[in-house]
């Protein structure tokens, strides 16, 4: 009995010490071997600040000390980490991806943020901060501290880089400034040159003709919305070889950027300046829109559908042509490149996906898809240059993967059902009204199932602007999506519509 008592006391003292010891930064770091976590923690405001206060690993990565959740989360993460340490190759873990919001939310506890940051309205808070924190308190169920404060615990160069698009010069821009736009006299590949900039891009002829829109009932991973299949006839058009790149988009941005927000909030894309029609373009974004992944020929991302449309108007005005976003049918025709299979290359989602039971164990065979598509397995959780992939049969790059692409059709789940069953529909443009637009092609986040040529998805306007603290929310930049972009098409013959 007395022994039992002493053992109990010892156990409590010892377990308290164990709890303390296993909560030290040194203990965490003895296993957490990912290269930069410690280094960028030292650079972050949670370590390096003028108050000299240091915030330790467990203060953010576990629920508040003393809560029951603290112990259960500690046990769970402890087991998981020990398992990973023993059985996983830490070199192969995509640490970069783990720093992005979705992953960060799983490893950080809002209660812990709040348990230290109890005053959301200190007197030194900026006006933007006041309005943002009011917005947070009024919309708490939708928001998390990390939505705005992702990099406070681990420093990120991107988050602190001053954005100055006037000086964001890329190598290609050292080249010649184009004097005029390309002249198109034949239905053949041409290189468009944007006057007044050094930016050029290739436009490929897409011959048009008849094809079957949608996927057959048996296709693995098929969604309801991909059917019923319909015959579609398309007029010839040109399509850009690559997704609109940062080089292209920044040329537009520099020339049309609206100062302040007054112009943009009117929501008009064309305004009169000195009697000349001028395009009013995006306001400056809040963060670095490239997410720190790099500019150049990587696809431009996070612009709104409205911004993409305005880009087309601007490009049309600059080049004297008729650039626009593709219709959904044009997009799928181009993506298929004459094929009727799930991909424009050989293979099935079952073979490429990392999600199937078999592939989880034995690993997916990725040899073919790897060379054509930037997707979840090879993207390093970010966009990549189109130079890293091979073209589809029409010569187009990144039709599948890298970023989702806007189409001009409004999204309706059963859109195809409204097209005639017996005869081919000519140049369909989708439903006449709606609120969200179709996006196609999957992205660097997508699994093989989502990368099929027939996969349909759509914009999520409110979700994609959820954490934009501005009122009204930006019409130019999405705050909560990083894998959407677009490519342009151009009519060869005047666009016919029936």
């Amino acid at each position: 009995m007395l022994y039992g008592f002493f053992i109990g006391v010892l156990f409590i003292i010892f377990s308290g010490k164990v709890m303390d010891y296993t909560s030290t930064d040194q203990f965490c770091m003895s296993c957490h071997v990912h290269p930069h976590a410690e280094e960028n923690w030292h650079l972050s405001t949670h370590y390096d600040n003028k108050s000299g206060i240091v915030v330790h690993c467990v203060q953010c990565h576990l629920p508040p000390h003393g809560s029951l959740a603290h112990f259960s989360a500690k046990a769970k993460t402890g087991l998981r980490d020990a398992y990973a340490m023993v059985f996983k190759d830490t070199e192969k873990i995509n640490w970069e991806a783990k720093r992005q919001l979705e992953a960060a939310l799983k490893h950080t506890y809002e209660e812990s943020c709040i348990s230290c940051h109890q005053n959301l309205f200190p007197l030194q808070l900026s006006q933007e901060g006041m309005h943002a924190h009011l917005y947070y308190e009024e919309n708490r169920h939708d928001l998390n501290c990390l939505n705005c404060h992702l990099h406070v615990g681990h420093f990120s160069e991107v988050a602190h880089k001053k954005i100055d698009f006037g000086f964001e010069r890329t190598e290609t821009e050292a080249a010649v400034v184009h004097e005029k736009a390309a002249e198109v006299n034949a239905f053949a590949t041409f290189t468009e040159t944007i006057p007044g900039t050094s930016v050029s891009f290739r436009m490929l002829p897409i011959a048009g003709g008849q094809f079957t829109l949608g996927s057959p009932a048996g296709e693995p991973g098929r969604l309801e919305s991909e059917g019923p299949q319909r015959e579609v006839e398309l007029s010839p058009f040109f399509m850009s070889e690559i997704q609109v790149s940062w080089d292209m988009y920044l040329a537009f941005f520099r020339e049309t950027m609206s100062e302040g927000r007054s112009d943009a909030s009117i929501g008009l894309s064309v305004r009169q300046v000195d009697g000349v029609d001028a395009i009013s373009g995006p306001t400056p974004p809040w963060g670095s829109p490239d997410q720190g992944w790099g500019w150049g020929d990587r696809p431009a991302i996070t612009m709104t559908y409205h911004a993409a449309e305005t880009f087309c108007q601007w490009l049309s005005q600059k080049t004297g042509k008729n650039y626009r976003l593709p219709t959904e049918a044009e997009w799928e025709f181009a993506a298929r490149g004459g094929t009727t299979t799930p991909y424009f290359f050989e293979g099935s989602p079952k073979r490429f996906s990392s999600q199937t039971f078999r592939n989880r164990i034995f690993g997916a065979d990725t040899t073919i898809i790897n060379s054509y598509v930037i997707y979840e397995a090879n993207s390093m959780a970010r966009t990549q240059s189109p130079q890293t992939v091979r073209s589809n049969p029409f010569g187009l790059k990144n039709m599948l993967g890298n970023v989702w692409e806007f189409c001009s059709d409004f999204y309706v789940e059963d859109a195809y059902a409204s097209y005639p069953e017996k005869m081919a529909v000519k140049n369909p443009t989708g439903p006449s009204t709606g609120s969200e637009r179709v996006v196609r092609g999957g992205s660097f986040r997508s699994d093989a199932y989502e990368l099929r040529a027939a996969t349909r998805s759509h914009t999520r306007h409110n979700d994609w602007l959820r954490t934009d603290p501005q009122i009204p929310k930006s019409i130019w930049w999405y705050s909560d999506v990083t894998d959407v972009g677009f490519r342009v098409v151009m009519d060869w013959q005047p666009f016919e519509k029936e």
């Binding site: 959301l120 309205f121 200190p122 007197l123 009122i471 009204p472």
Partner: protein, 442 residues
Amino acid sequence: MSLEQPNRRDFIKGIGTVAAASALGAGFLLKSCSTDKTRVLLPSFLDTAPDGRVLKAGLIGCGGRGTGAAINYLDAGPGLEITALGDVFQDRIDRCRTYLKDQKNVEVADQKCFVGFDAYQKVIESDVDIVILATPPFFRPSHFEAAVRARKHVFMEKPVAIDPVGARSVMASARMADAAGLKVVAGTQRRHQRDYLTAYEHIKSGVIGDIVAANCYWNQPQLWFVNRQPNWSDMEAMLRDWVNWTWLSGDHIVEQHVHNYDVISWFKGKHPVKAVGFGARHRRPTGDQYDFFSVDFEYDDSTHLHSMCRQIDNCANNVSEHIVGTKGTSNCHNLIRDHKGEQIWTYQYPLDENGNPSEQLMKNPFEQEMVNLVAAIRNNTPLNQAEECAMSTLVGIMGRISAYTGKEVTMEEMMNSSLRLGPETLEFGIVNIPATSPVPGA
């Protein structure tokens, strides 16, 4: 029984005691109720503020109400001083200064009198403890924020904003003031009237059941206007005529009617979620405002508040509130009836100096709110009315926008609206705002 924490059972037993205690001003009552948003703390009810260290106040906005508020402040208790004045007009400062000298023998030094659109900042920086904000409401959000950041306690007149952006700014500054332990009174003086407070306690105790409908009124003759003089700029003409310009006053549905909205929100414990209203202009000689509004508000429990306000001579006048409960009705301050029309409670006002019954409170509410502010500062008890007043202001703004546009307007839209009225820059010169009133359905 505990005066600090009256519960329902004690209350029914002790109605007389509470009424007597509060009428005598003996109890230091700190009562709280919760709305859907925040805990609202009701102020203490002393006849005079407790003594303590000297509190210096600066007055920003030296018009009639500002000067009156300064006098009320000086009357609130011992050790209270007015040491700085600020206004955009020299003549307003001169008149206020003379009045303070004549009435209270208070002299404000030359170097503590500031003129111009930045006068508020100079008053705030002039070594004061409290600022009294009594400019036209357009200026309130920026002045309030500046005062809070400088750690000043605040008395500010209602309404506290004229547009949704301003109202939200005040809410954020209010939370900042809370965090810094500052005391704020917001000029909705019905919250400082003993009759209202006593009626509130009764109704909270369930005497009329749940509140299922409400009406409120601010119908009065024409207010005032100032004709433009030939040497005045647009800005000067508008500022001197501010109660007739929406960008300065918020229109009378906000500027005056906010009192009644505030009472209904207080008693109901929540704010309406949408409004459909109408109104028009028939009589007003200057400015761009309407002469009357009629607005139907709806709450999230499907109950309604109907409100009307008017500023036209020779019409029926009425400034009051009326709430309907499942068991009775009340005017929210001195009368409760059952559904048969029988009086079940009346507020017992003190007798006047000749010993006759009166309807006057012992302490006028404009003085009472200053007493309560000073008491809260010196006793360090919680008191911050900024957010509740901002919400009541926003209710008025929602009604106004609905009447101006003819559309249904929701509180959610107000919480996300970017509407900001008034010129971009503040200077004496051209103000590009025409004297035409909005046309609904346009």
